[in-house]
Symmetry: C3
Subunit: 188 residues, 3 copies
């Protein structure tokens, strides 16, 4: 259920607490990749995008099968114990019988952020009508943002490009201490 083919190791990974940069986790959700039958082509794309565009390090990376309870538990662990700022999932957002990433994400989040998923789908629809089949969910648990990305590397890159102009600001807002919050006009 865990690999380091993305170039990072799973926790324990104490270095993630030694930087002021946002801490990012990549969770690949795929039965076949979890069984080792298929290389994970999307996580390296995510990692490259995050490092190049935001200079954020990947703190943790894991591959899990399309099991709702396993996905849910991993998300909660990464939010509550690793205190990640951002979790990017890839895979399991479609119509296939075992695609349950959105349901597991809803199980984990406390506050939904529907605008992110809407923006990703609207942008992708300009490329392909199949984008309307994405069931991606995005939301917050504590101060961690969870974003469901699709499974295909190409679609992953497109969706990250959609989020790019807003995501750093979103993470900044989440990292503010509650007692220093500046009121309700900070977001558009």
């Amino acid at each position: 259920m865990s690999t380091d083919s993305c170039g990072v190791t799973a926790h324990p990974c104490p270095v993630i607490f030694m930087t002021d940069q946002p801490r990012v986790g990549i969770l690949t959700i795929s039965d076949r990749s979890a069984r080792g039958e298929r290389p994970d082509a999307s996580a390296p794309v995510i990692r490259a995008f995050v490092e190049e565009h935001w200079s954020w390090a990947i703190a943790v990376y894991r591959i899990v099968p399309d099991e709702r309870e396993v996905i849910r538990a991993t998300l909660i662990e990464w939010c509550d114990e690793l205190h990640l700022n951002l979790i990017l999932t890839t895979g399991g957002t479609g119509f296939a019988p075992r695609d349950v990433t959105p349901e597991a994400t809803r199980d984990a989040i406390e506050r939904e952020t529907p605008g992110l998923a809407e923006a990703m789908r609207a942008d992708s629809l300009k490329k392909t009508p199949h984008a309307m089949l994405s069931r991606a969910v995005c939301g917050l648990r504590g101060s961690t943002l969870i974003v469901n990305l699709p499974g295909s590397p190409k679609a992953v890159r497109e969706n990250l490009a959609t989020l790019a102009p807003a995501l750093p600001h979103a993470i900044d807002l989440l990292r503010e201490a509650p007692d220093t919050e500046a009121g309700h006009t900070r977001t558009a």
Copy 2:
């Protein structure tokens, strides 16, 4: 509560199991049509579209009043007993006090497919600002896709045209046996 003015009869309808084509149900939700006070103008439009664009047969057709429990029970019966591949509802998605189709649909589905409803509304908004009043919900119960269409025949046709380039692929994904599933890259 049941008519065959759309040209098909309610079940039992064994022919629906004798084809490899997707099996489609049309559920019209309207107090006045259920009372026979108003002809159902939308179901024939749906039927014509489905037959012309996809060559799929309508396996079952029914008119029910705007009653949440009746709608919910019909949807569940058609998913769990008739094993339809697609249910297209028409009516009951607006702001009127008795419009409860979306709530009944949420009661029945297990996995929401928000991209379909978003795409229909976004496209319709290009025609009329009233499109933002559609509360349509789409989602999956088992391997059946349920799509809420609006009540007006014109809007029904527009929304089906929005779904047309993606719906056959969606149905294909749902009809795959779980053990033959090809991984998470099949959908964009």
Copy 3:
């Protein structure tokens, strides 16, 4: 928790029952404004828009802190006791830890109207990518429509302009007595 800086007083306000015009409430959600540390810049913008574009009077106005239970209780009181036709909230829809307006709104509504929030975000995205961070929720409780607007006066004005072509029709539909309802074709 209550001020009249918007130029209207909190209830009791019997005049609101003496007109056939829709009755509108403005609920400002802001810790700092509730503590009197910051003037409420958005409510006057809402009031001006509602009066100028629709000639509707503001029946009630209140400022509450970012407390889910306080927001929820206020919304329910305004729906069930004041029988408002429209409640416009401002603030608390972002990513900050105390932004809980959408959650409190979901606690209060019975039927969601996702098309309004989608349309506001889609329009705002044409102005700024930060619009995708809006978590606004819209929905119905009884015959009252609740709309979450963002906190910034500029974004409030933009979002109201998005709703303007459809909102009066929405309110008309909600004010129809159930027994005079005209079937499911009234909305697009």
